[in-house]
């Protein structure tokens, strides 16, 4: 699964740490998310969607192998 969290974060001018605090996860988790190493739970995906004011589909995208 692909995501553009890094882009969204840049739009809102947030650091990984700030985004982590706003979503209640560790900065390392945000880092792993952006690197595509971790697929978030629905709860975290919806929190990000709410924070970035965009539907989940615009942040996350399925890939062929998913």
């Amino acid at each position: 699964m692909k995501n553009n969290i890094k882009v969204q974060r840049a739009i809102y001018n947030l650091t990984q740490q700030e985004l982590a605090e706003k979503t209640g996860v560790s900065r390392q988790t945000i880092n792993a998310l952006e690197a595509g190493k971790y697929v978030p739970s629905t709860v975290l995906a919806l929190k990000l969607s709410k924070l970035f004011e965009k539907p989940v589909n615009e942040i996350f995208e399925l890939e062929k192998e998913d």
Binding site: V25, Q28, N31, A32
Partner: protein, 160 residues
Amino acid sequence: MKTNFLFPYKLKMLSGILFSISFILLALLYSVSEYSDFEIKAKVFAILGDTGLLGDNESFFWLETSVTDELLMLFVIPFGIIFAFSKEKHEDEMVAAMRLNSLAWATIINYVIILLGYLFVYGIVFLNVLMVAMISQLLIFIVLFRYRIYRFYKTAAHEE
């Protein structure tokens, strides 16, 4: 989000220290030949036991024996469990995912070791395999999980 039950983070340090010390002492106790030097004799209640290697099995009786290893086990298992299943400093869903993954791998590795022990160790020395099997899964899980957490924090140490 509500996560599964875990012991509080503040117990982690203390339980880790107590687990390490008692585990090392237990390993030393089993490896020394002068086992009798460390005996603590006490009367204990047995649900099941025998009166000697060739004696008949008895149930619900009192006997006098050394309780050094029993006392150490009373530290190793409870503090091992608390250390292994207490919250991390930054507990979140990814830590929970790594915990589950480590637990699965620890179970697989543990049973591979037990199976190999079962197939290739015979005689009285097989008792050692059974002794190791009592805490090996917990130990393998702790090592795997700590290593993964260590790498998790290390690789993401610098923000891009």
